[in-house]
């Protein structure tokens, strides 16, 4: 089931300069740590001049849609979904 959240979230991200790859390692939300096992898709969109990066990622049991505002560098958890 999909649930809209729209709340600030903490994200642990790393960048591998050799392979030029960004990985999201953990999402910390509601005082719980969710280790990320899969990056499904990264895409972006613009609202006005501001570029937003969207990361669709999954932990063992939950899907997260995370949005990074590239101007403020703040993260927002837009949506979660569990197994259908």
């Amino acid at each position: 089931m999909i649930q809209k959240i729209n709340a600030p979230v903490s994200v642990n991200l790393s960048y591998d300069s050799l392979n030029k790859k960004v990985s999201i390692n953990e999402v910390i939300w509601n005082n719980k740590i969710y280790p990320i096992v899969k990056l499904g898709l990264h895409h972006f969109f613009r609202r006005g001049r501001t570029l937003y990066h969207v990361f669709s990622v999954a932990s063992e049991n939950l899907f997260f849609r995370l949005i990074l505002n590239s101007e403020t560098l703040h993260w927002n958890l837009e949506q979660i979904a569990d197994e259908y």
């Binding site: 999909i2 899969k38 499904g40 898709l41 972006f44 609202r47 006005g48 899907f63 979904a81 569990d82």
Partner: protein, 426 residues
């Protein structure tokens, strides 16, 4: 160049094109649904549909491969899809997700040729004739490499069907032979085998009416169609289309023409049966705002507008007018549109509104007016557009558009690629 100059004078005696196939057609399988499954791994392998609205009356835009297997089709209502499979996952469309995948795919394909034509958000045609990638390799190897790169660089769940042939039509046909994840070549050695296993309606462009037309002259199969003499096809289609089909089926290229932008338009299917001027005008204003913004961003003005309304009782009304004045501002276009709206059948519940503008002219030189300061107006509108570009769509908008936040969401046009040109150029 006319057809006789291109193919020689003896058109009625042409064989299948003996050339090496250089045209490749790529088609992302169940595009929107596959991208959603790529983004969310929990959706993979499950029947899902991307729909215009997730309400029961919403139209299915893209069923996943799993949903197609159980009979869910494009164009069905969400409630019909749920009748077939009650647990089907219904997702709203996410245009930017699909546009990003389109751009990533375009980046991969442009490594092989610059003769790359996007036919829609999920279809590309490549012409590889004379390109270095083919010097030491077979075109099928290139196709396999592209398929692998899509999985590695976009996502492992993404799959494309590829067709290869000597013209665009047969390359597209090739891509539809084995879905999903197919790779087929149609060439001078195998075209008869392939044609003998197809129905007339398997050909892109031949549906029920054309099929009946062909049956009328004794053509019942694709092989009959191929073997039919040119005079028979001309008499069947009663137009140049007979010749086009004759050449297409023989692998000769006649579909590589470029189309020019002639109009801008926006449409909206209303969620409620609005019928009064008070209810319809905010929607009309927002449609005009979206359309005129796109018109101005492409540096055009318009000398004509068109309004079409599809009513809930399945009747249709439309009217277009040419204007003496070059239109570019939202307010001016809206005024003309409102005039047209007042001529329509007001009072009947509306299902869909379409606005468009045509007779486009470049907006580099302005026609001055006696009573209006056109340059001043242009500067004002340009400033408003710049603010909306900087801070986001509809930061400054007309009061007539109030309370329309939930209406006319971002959409991807079906089939068209003009809309894609706009966002890739920005």
């Amino acid at each position: 160049m006319n057809i006789k100059d291109k193919f020689g004078k003896n058109l009625s005696d042409m064989d299948f094109n003996p050339g090496i196939p250089f045209i490749m057609h790529l088609d992302i399988n169940s595009c929107f649904a596959t991208i959603e499954q790529q983004a969310n791994p929990f959706l993979r392998g499950k029947p899902l549909v991307v729909a215009a609205y997730d309400s029961p009356g919403g139209c299915v835009l893209a069923p996943s491969i799993e949903a197609k297997r159980i009979g869910i089709k494009v164009g069905m209502r969400v409630k019909d899809a749920k009748e077939i499979f009650p647990k089907v996952v219904v997702l709203p469309s996410d245009p930017w997700k699909y546009r990003n995948v389109h751009l990533s795919l375009r980046r991969i394909l442009s490594d092989y040729t610059d003769k790359l034509v996007p036919k829609s958000i999920d279809e590309f045609v490549l012409n590889l004739e004379g390109y270095p990638c083919l010097i030491k390799r077979d075109i099928k190897d290139i196709a396999k490499e592209i398929k692998l790169r899509i999985k590695n660089e976009i996502g492992e769940w993404m799959s494309v069907s590829v067709g290869i042939s000597t013209n665009r039509f047969l390359a597209k046909l090739g891509s539809s032979l084995h879905k999903p994840d197919g790779l087929d070549e149609i060439n001078k050695n195998n075209y008869l085998d392939i044609y003998s296993n197809l129905k007339l309606t398997d050909l892109n462009g031949i549906k029920v009416r054309n099929s009946i037309r062909l049956n009328g002259v004794g053509i019942f199969s694709v092989l009959d169609f191929y073997n039919a003499p040119l005079w028979k096809l001309k008499s069947s289609f009663k137009s140049i289309n007979g010749l086009y089909w004759y050449l297409r089926l023989r692998g000769w290229e006649i579909d590589d023409f470029k189309t020019k932008r002639r109009s801008y338009g926006n449409s909206y299917a209303l969620p409620k049966p609005f019928k009064t001027v008070k209810e319809l005008t905010p929607i009309l204003m927002k449609l005009v705002e979206k359309m005129s913004f796109r018109l101005r961003m492409a540096n055009y003005k318009a000398n004509g507008i068109h309004l079409a309304i599809y009513y809930r009782d399945h009747t249709f009304w439309h009217k277009g007018v040419k204007t003496k004045k070059e239109l570019f501002s939202t307010q001016d276009i809206y005024k003309e549109m409102f005039r047209l709206l007042s001529l329509s059948y007001l009072g009947k519940p509306v299902r869909e509104i379409f606005v468009s503008c045509f007779n486009l002219v470049g907006s580099f030189v302005s026609q001055l007016e006696l009573f209006n300061d056109v340059p001043k107006k242009e500067k004002l509108i340009k400033s408003i557009d710049q603010i909306n570009n900087r801070w986001g769509e509809f930061v400054i908008f007309s009061a007539k558009m109030s309370n329309t936040e939930n209406y006319i969401p971002d959409r991807i046009a079906f089939g068209g690629v003009k809309e894609l040109e706009e966002f890739t150029l920005r």
